[in-house]
Symmetry: C2
Subunit: 298 residues, 2 copies
């Protein structure tokens, strides 16, 4: 069983604190820390680790213990919106585990965090128990500074823990979601309006695909524009369908696709689905991928 966990922590400047947070995760033997990176202007660090349910739970609690001790949101400044010391903790099913099991884990960890550290927790995405509190952006609106007054309203009573923010650690957002794919398509034009119109056409918020977030940007140094996307469920809204739609919409303006790029990690199943689509492969099973077969027989 393999679950990925990607906690976002509100500290991106003090190297000793960041190192101690990474060490807290590394110390759990059944978990592997794959990556961590910090952004000083965001004043935020992102840790990526994998393990089984028990290991991942232990690692998150160890991370909270350090973060609550070392981080004080009252003294925290950064460009990135945030609610708490450990701001967001998503659990992502990778292998041999269902989304339902990741949701159950999110709730178990949320209860433990509330009890052990007195930090209120909001459940989000697949773990959400309230349609108005599914999106991270909605939960985080107002940030740490607006949290006390926001939580005074009954509709912002947290899922676990006290009805007021922790004085220094704020609140945390914990949940489960599919792997997220950061995917950009660069257009062979400098017309920003075309990128913005295409982004609007494909993103959920304005009538597009259910699991697409998108915006249009200018890449100033290259004299071209980009449709920048997050694909939040590659099984239900696959890359190839988004790509083909962008291509068709761009053609309507006489614009062609220059290239696309995947930023960071992508599950092999997302690439295999594109190969299956374009090569019209029937009856393909993921066990036919040599690497999957190798891992299964370990």
């Amino acid at each position: 069983m393999l679950i990925e966990c990607i906690p976002n922590v509100s500290e991106g400047r003090r190297q000793d604190v960041i190192a101690a947070l990474a060490e807290a995760i590394r110390r759990i033997p059944t978990v592997r820390l794959l990556d961590f990176s910090s952004d000083t202007s965001h004043n935020r660090s992102v840790f990526t680790f994998v393990g089984d349910a028990a290991g991942v739970e232990q690692a998150v609690l160890a991370l909270f213990e350090r973060a609550v001790a070392d981080i004080d949101l009252r003294a925290h400044k950064g460009e990135h919106p945030r609610l708490g010391a450990v701001d967001v903790v998503p659990f992502v099913p990778i292998e041999g585990v269902t989304m339902a099991e990741c949701v159950a884990l999110a709730k178990k960890v949320a209860a433990a965090v509330a009890e052990r550290f007195g930090v209120p927790v909001f459940l989000y995405e697949e773990a959400s128990t309230n349609p108005a509190r599914k999106n991270l952006e909605d939960i985080r609106r107002g940030e740490f500074e607006g949290l006390a007054s926001k939580m005074a309203a009954t509709e912002w009573k947290p899922d676990f823990g006290p009805s007021a923010p922790h004085p220094s650690a704020g609140a945390s957002v914990i949940g489960a979601r599919m792997p997220l794919i950061a995917y950009n398509i660069n257009l062979a034009t400098d017309r920003l309006d075309v990128a913005k119109k295409i982004a609007a056409a494909i993103r959920q918020s304005s009538g597009g695909f259910r699991f697409v977030k998108a915006a249009g940007f200018k890449l100033e140094n290259r004299g071209i524009v980009q449709v920048s996307m997050n694909l939040t469920n590659f099984e239900k809204t696959p890359i190839f369908r988004v790509f083909e739609t962008v291509k068709r919409e761009a053609a309507r303006y006489g614009v062609s696709i220059l290239e696309s790029e995947i930023v960071g990690l992508v599950p092999s199943a997302a690439l295999a689905a594109a190969a299956e689509f374009y090569l019209q492969i029937e009856g393909f099973k993921s066990e036919q991928i040599l690497e999957n077969k190798l891992r299964q027989s370990t």
Copy 2:
């Protein structure tokens, strides 16, 4: 380091012998037997296992020991052409190992087989030392029954071992090759001539792609035809290029592609390459595939 080895053994009927052959491989602790299957009409079994160079070498020698003891080619009948008890042994580079290292391993194992069992060995494919003895089909022509007279000619002196066949175990063909992809494209027509013309257009032997073997067949029960292929080097002759060429050639006869199928295993890199091609992904690295990242950090 991961090397795949797929020995083909001339026994597909006696279950006790086949089980003993599988057990000989399984007993090597640094090797994993992924799969084995037997065909009674071919009277032949195919074993697939992976491991490091030392483990794979041990397993092949253990397999030879059993096969030479249990199989007598003088009493062997089957539809599939064969030269020896252990007929063919390819080594395939999978991860953290070069083709040159697999060639070196093939030669080392070939020398050990000749010395320990007195079986003559011909090197083939990437391990071949002679352009006329690169293709398995050329080496195997005449089969076990014609081997003694074939080996009487100096050009068929083996690479290792005696200049005459082993009385009961014949000769073996050992070498190194890229992973082979068995790939079929079904056409929305019952015209066998179209499948045959397309197969001729794309296969190396009649002027097509360097690493494609192809033939046209009728799928009688479905009333359609198939271009059946082996892709012997998916890096140099990628699936998507073959697919697009078949599509274009079929269109010339007013025929479209119904579907394609991958038979058995396929390396994830072959599917990723198709996704990169069709989605026009620039700057993609294999470490971006989540599963690869996971294995690297093990």
